[in-house]
Subunit: 76 residues, 2 copies
Protein backbone atom coordinates (compact mmCIF):
# COMPACT_ATOMS: atom_id res chain seq x y z
CA UNK A 1 0.00 0.00 0.00
CA UNK A 2 1.18 3.53 -0.64
CA UNK A 3 2.75 5.31 2.27
CA UNK A 4 0.46 7.75 4.03
CA UNK A 5 1.46 10.08 6.81
CA UNK A 6 1.88 13.67 7.99
CA UNK A 7 1.79 15.13 4.46
CA UNK A 8 -1.72 13.72 4.07
CA UNK A 9 -2.84 15.09 7.44
CA UNK A 10 -1.45 18.45 6.31
CA UNK A 11 -3.36 18.37 3.02
CA UNK A 12 -6.60 17.85 4.95
CA UNK A 13 -5.72 20.55 7.48
CA UNK A 14 -5.09 23.01 4.66
CA UNK A 15 -8.48 22.24 3.13
CA UNK A 16 -10.08 22.97 6.52
CA UNK A 17 -8.18 26.23 6.81
CA UNK A 18 -9.25 27.30 3.30
CA UNK A 19 -12.90 26.62 4.03
CA UNK A 20 -12.69 28.35 7.40
CA UNK A 21 -10.94 31.45 6.05
CA UNK A 22 -13.40 31.75 3.17
CA UNK A 23 -16.20 31.90 5.73
CA UNK A 24 -14.35 34.52 7.77
CA UNK A 25 -14.53 32.37 10.91
CA UNK A 26 -11.82 32.08 13.59
CA UNK A 27 -10.14 28.87 14.69
CA UNK A 28 -11.59 29.48 18.15
CA UNK A 29 -15.14 29.57 16.80
CA UNK A 30 -14.72 26.36 14.84
CA UNK A 31 -13.05 24.64 17.80
CA UNK A 32 -15.92 25.67 20.07
CA UNK A 33 -18.55 24.42 17.61
CA UNK A 34 -16.70 21.14 17.11
CA UNK A 35 -16.21 20.69 20.86
CA UNK A 36 -12.42 20.65 20.52
CA UNK A 37 -9.75 22.61 22.35
CA UNK A 38 -8.60 25.57 20.25
CA UNK A 39 -4.98 24.37 20.43
CA UNK A 40 -6.00 20.95 19.19
CA UNK A 41 -7.93 22.41 16.26
CA UNK A 42 -4.97 24.64 15.42
CA UNK A 43 -2.75 21.53 15.37
CA UNK A 44 -5.22 19.84 13.00
CA UNK A 45 -5.06 22.70 10.50
CA UNK A 46 -1.26 22.54 10.64
CA UNK A 47 -1.27 18.80 9.92
CA UNK A 48 0.05 17.84 13.33
CA UNK A 49 -2.81 15.50 14.23
CA UNK A 50 -4.13 12.30 12.71
CA UNK A 51 -7.78 12.84 13.58
CA UNK A 52 -10.44 10.17 13.89
CA UNK A 53 -13.44 9.73 11.64
CA UNK A 54 -15.77 11.17 14.30
CA UNK A 55 -13.55 14.23 14.81
CA UNK A 56 -13.52 14.76 11.05
CA UNK A 57 -17.33 14.72 11.04
CA UNK A 58 -17.47 17.22 13.93
CA UNK A 59 -15.08 19.62 12.20
CA UNK A 60 -16.91 19.34 8.88
CA UNK A 61 -20.19 20.12 10.64
CA UNK A 62 -18.63 23.15 12.36
CA UNK A 63 -17.33 24.33 8.97
CA UNK A 64 -20.76 23.78 7.35
CA UNK A 65 -19.44 21.39 4.73
CA UNK A 66 -19.55 17.66 4.15
CA UNK A 67 -16.55 15.61 5.31
CA UNK A 68 -16.41 14.18 1.79
CA UNK A 69 -16.02 17.73 0.44
CA UNK A 70 -13.07 18.43 2.74
CA UNK A 71 -11.33 15.24 1.62
CA UNK A 72 -12.05 15.94 -2.05
CA UNK A 73 -10.61 19.44 -1.63
CA UNK A 74 -7.50 17.78 -0.14
CA UNK A 75 -7.24 15.55 -3.21
CA UNK A 76 -8.16 12.53 -1.16
CA UNK B 1 -22.55 20.41 17.49
CA UNK B 2 -24.61 17.44 16.33
CA UNK B 3 -23.88 14.17 18.08
CA UNK B 4 -21.69 11.80 16.12
CA UNK B 5 -20.86 8.27 17.15
CA UNK B 6 -21.07 4.55 16.36
CA UNK B 7 -23.93 4.99 13.86
CA UNK B 8 -21.65 7.18 11.76
CA UNK B 9 -18.78 4.69 11.98
CA UNK B 10 -21.26 2.03 10.86
CA UNK B 11 -22.43 4.08 7.86
CA UNK B 12 -18.81 4.37 6.70
CA UNK B 13 -18.14 0.67 7.33
CA UNK B 14 -21.17 -0.24 5.26
CA UNK B 15 -19.93 1.89 2.37
CA UNK B 16 -16.59 0.05 2.55
CA UNK B 17 -18.36 -3.30 2.56
CA UNK B 18 -20.48 -2.33 -0.46
CA UNK B 19 -17.45 -1.25 -2.46
CA UNK B 20 -15.51 -4.37 -1.46
CA UNK B 21 -18.33 -6.77 -2.28
CA UNK B 22 -18.94 -5.13 -5.65
CA UNK B 23 -15.30 -5.80 -6.50
CA UNK B 24 -15.58 -9.42 -5.35
CA UNK B 25 -12.69 -9.02 -2.92
CA UNK B 26 -12.39 -10.65 0.51
CA UNK B 27 -11.93 -8.80 3.79
CA UNK B 28 -8.62 -10.61 4.16
CA UNK B 29 -7.34 -9.25 0.86
CA UNK B 30 -8.31 -5.67 1.70
CA UNK B 31 -6.81 -5.97 5.19
CA UNK B 32 -3.56 -7.27 3.74
CA UNK B 33 -3.38 -4.45 1.18
CA UNK B 34 -4.17 -1.84 3.80
CA UNK B 35 -1.64 -3.31 6.25
CA UNK B 36 -4.32 -3.98 8.87
CA UNK B 37 -5.15 -7.13 10.80
CA UNK B 38 -8.09 -8.93 9.22
CA UNK B 39 -10.02 -8.82 12.51
CA UNK B 40 -9.49 -5.09 12.76
CA UNK B 41 -10.73 -4.53 9.22
CA UNK B 42 -13.76 -6.72 9.92
CA UNK B 43 -14.52 -4.54 12.96
CA UNK B 44 -14.26 -1.43 10.79
CA UNK B 45 -16.85 -2.73 8.32
CA UNK B 46 -19.17 -3.51 11.25
CA UNK B 47 -18.82 0.00 12.62
CA UNK B 48 -16.96 -1.08 15.73
CA UNK B 49 -13.92 1.16 15.18
CA UNK B 50 -13.45 4.90 14.96
CA UNK B 51 -10.59 4.87 12.47
CA UNK B 52 -8.05 7.62 11.92
CA UNK B 53 -7.67 9.73 8.81
CA UNK B 54 -4.55 7.78 7.75
CA UNK B 55 -6.30 4.42 8.20
CA UNK B 56 -9.20 5.73 6.11
CA UNK B 57 -6.74 6.63 3.34
CA UNK B 58 -5.11 3.18 3.51
CA UNK B 59 -8.46 1.39 3.27
CA UNK B 60 -9.66 3.61 0.41
CA UNK B 61 -6.43 2.85 -1.48
CA UNK B 62 -6.87 -0.88 -0.89
CA UNK B 63 -10.44 -0.61 -2.18
CA UNK B 64 -9.31 1.40 -5.24
CA UNK B 65 -11.53 4.37 -4.45
CA UNK B 66 -11.04 7.86 -3.08
CA UNK B 67 -11.64 8.37 0.65
CA UNK B 68 -13.98 11.21 -0.33
CA UNK B 69 -16.03 8.72 -2.37
CA UNK B 70 -16.40 6.37 0.61
CA UNK B 71 -17.60 9.22 2.80
CA UNK B 72 -19.98 10.49 0.13
CA UNK B 73 -21.41 6.99 -0.24
CA UNK B 74 -21.95 6.99 3.54
CA UNK B 75 -23.84 10.28 3.25
CA UNK B 76 -21.05 12.10 5.01
Amino acid sequence: VASFGPKDNLALGRAMREVREQSGTSQETIALKADLHRNYYSDVERGNRNITHITLLKIAKALNVKASELLAQAGQ
